[in-house]
Symmetry: D2
Subunit: 286 residues, 4 copies
């Protein structure tokens, strides 16, 4: 079985490698020839363009930076893919773009699914990503084995675009918890309270969260090496705000979190870990 | 060893009972004679007033609704308590009130600690409260055995008032996560995504939290039986906002969460569980 | 001198009529044949499409609902317009779309200006619009006489897109003042204070504003006949949020105002005047 | 007719002087003996304490920094004032404190009114203050002539506390407009738009306000000499937030404005004019 993999960046490269390891014939393409060569070195096959990569594939996966890239690549996939092709777009993009891709694909007999991931570079390398999938349940069932080589939590969450909506919901909650923990730290420290002891208590009770578990000590020590970069979270909050607008709902906390992340970027912290929201709350106070 | 316990409400009553069970001589007082009788039925002793309850006590515990009640009762404790007395105020009140109590107490040789709790009625009954303690470390060490009969996580977090500050930090994070989860649910549902599947994914990743673990299903089913009432969380957000103001820090998310909780109350949901923030976000959208 | 006018809606129709009155030869086009007929009845000339309308024009004006329509029409204007043509896009759209139009136009020798307006239907009919213009200063000078037939305040505010940015700034301030006045009314009424007397005082002092001057009595009486519809202000807040994002700045109040307007729409008040933000603040409180 | 004036600070001093000029016998007291001497130099009479100042007065005016000072002074006024005395508290304090003063006063036959002012030092010197009065309408009528020597806009707005509520409403709107104008400036400048031309357009249309009229040029030039200090506005936003809480209403924009003002103070701008909210929005963005 042949899988075309388009977009061999920080996430895509190890994901493609995991597919090779799982025994699939992987044909890869990226705008960077170097990355294509890297895939070949790992046992994949390189292609000269999207059309070539896609031509003989049973499954196509795209892992691209944002909506505009998907809007460029998806029509090529659909135009050159075989009828009945399964097309997994694993990029994190706006839900309405995913719905557009699904419609365009369906018109040509291509079975598109949106399948954004969480878990970061670590999860991509280890094959332990969480994958949230939108699209037709039968197409999901057909794609399930391939996804099984990439992640451990693989959930079908609804119709086309639903995967992206769940990813957006994930990112607004993650950003919000970082903001809340940042405010808690600033309050504790300004009040002369030991933040380590204080956050230990919070982590053990109803305020507890994955973020408190794994990030509270680095946050208190102001260690913000990424991790997941502010720039990417800024992109994702833009998607969350756009998704809310598209769905016709007003989300006041989400909007405020988006501003905190935007401020982090405006303050030059785009390359830091998203826990650097703490720097924004601190700077707000002096 | 004799412990005076002032304030035998929903929390205080089972806490006093746990002290009796642990072998302490407990002398209780409450404005409600009925509650005093209840303590007597459980093996405690009743007193006719604060002064009487406190007179022969080695340790005094107060568990009162809010700052004004502590401002009434604390001077009586200090005036009638023996020198060297340990005074644990376990009410959730403003940090600056706790600091005032500590100063008044110190002037009379009374060793005051602020020791608010989290864990709710369940934790009070089971003796599994989390207790965050502010005050002198030696006084904390002396009080530790008594607190051990009431809770399982008992942490000294700093000087007088520090316990209250940590409690405030806890409540702002808890309220904030409820608000974020509420916005996530509204976004998912408005987008035609199954919220159960969606929140399952969130709970398993970086967005995961105690609240998602134990409340996501009841929230999606709109079951808001308390639990911890909106009215109490509204009081606590008032403390958090006041504590931030007192500490001279601006906390934008905290301020917004406080408005969501205030709105829940204004909408008549004061007696519902704090997860009913979902009703506020829903009403905001129709 | 011949002016092509594309988009003869509530705003465009009276604007085109004012140009006829001012002595210009006006060739109009709209997707609605009825509206084209209306322009002909007022002394203009109808065209069968954008290309035809534009062919012999010295100046082209477009007055369209939003960015997507401008993205459709502008290339046709540029393709069929004479070199040296002045092209005034008076639609309210995203600044980056206006910059794109200016670039596309410049490549073909067309001199594009973005020239959004404020002042509403009344201002369009009376020829008293405020017009904020972005683009080349010489092109502005050349277009100035035509704009003089449409408005009374006509200001060149900067390079391409600048007119849209100023319009966005205008709308965020307008939306924000409505929100603040709404909160003031809710506070006064909930406190048992006569809102008429209260707002009279505010209107006379540093809190005074055009909005308090002309809308406070209708707001207090809950009269929300448009005026400027919530739906349009929602569109404009979307532009403001997008413009801030594009400019790389975080604007926390703007983001919150956008949510209040989005909530007004979600609550079904899209056809009411934007002063109906009061209904959102009220509903938030019961 | 004798007027006792307690609190001869930046506002109180010129107000007392205006009463002297208007022909009243003014007996003044302040914790600073120097200020009392200053009043004597202007034709007033000094007193050694509140009780002495109040003893023979027909009208008592207090102009104090905040609620705690009023809570100290008001009982002395009530205890030593003649029955039937008119007591005007012109301090800006919490509405609930004013209601408490009115109740205490009424119990002793003293007719208390809350009468906070706006217009600043300039208005105090020129006798052009706006005065918003809460209390009994007959008492207001009796106090009207005295107030006429201090201000030009004098409005009875409701029962005890209503004056304070209107003042709070005024300050939340003023703070909010400063925040909105600051965000508009930041957006314009970040987008390469001339802020002078841009705000000129805003000032002339529906976005127009007293603040844009008198402060836009100084804001653009970053001139923040007070004016009305951030520290005082911070105090007033605290009152607004407390008044909303007391009235049981949630005000999301007000809460956010309060955070911006608190941030200005935390950033060390307490002594600058409140238009310095611009510095907060700028710092948020770099």
């Amino acid at each position: 079985m042949t899988i075309a993999f388009i977009g061999l960046g920080i996430m895509g490269s190890p994901m493609a490698a995991n597919l090779v390891k799982a025994g699939y014939d992987v044909v890869g393409y990226d705008v960077s020839a170097e990355r294509v060569a890297e895939l070949e070195a790992r046992g994949g096959k390189g292609a000269a363009g999207v059309a070539e990569a896609v031509a003989d594939a049973d499954v196509v996966i795209t892992m691209l930076p944002d909506s505009p890239q998907v809007e460029e690549v998806a029509p090529v996939v659909v135009a050159h893919g075989a009828s009945g092709l399964i097309y997994l777009d694993m990029s994190t993009i706006r839900p309405d773009t995913s719905r557009w891709v699904a419609r365009e694909a369906a018109a040509k007999g291509v079975r598109a699914l949106d399948a954004p991931v969480s878990g970061g570079e670590r999860g991509a390398v280890d094959g332990t990503l969480s994958i949230m999938v939108g699209g037709d349940p039968e197409d999901f069932a057909a794609a399930r084995p391939v996804l099984g080589a990439l992640g451990t939590t693989i959930v079908h969450v609804g119709p086309p675009g639903a995967g992206q909506t769940v990813k957006a919901a994930n990112q607004l909650v993650v950003g919000g918890i970082y903001g809340l923990v940042a405010e808690a730290i600033v309050l504790l420290e300004a009040s002369g309270v030991d933040p380590v002891a204080g956050l230990d208590v919070l982590a053990g009770g109803l305020a507890g969260s994955r973020i408190l578990d794994i990030k509270r000590h680095t946050m208190i020590r102001r260690e913000f090496a990424p991790g997941f970069r502010i720039d990417l979270h800024h992109k994702d909050m833009g998607i969350a705000v756009a998704a809310a607008r598209e769905a016709g709902v007003a989300l006041p906390l989400t909007a405020q979190v988006a501003q905190l992340v935007a401020a982090a970027r405006a303050q030059g912290h785009g390359s830091l870990d998203h826990s650097a929201l703490l720097k924004v709350v601190e700077r707000f106070n002096g």
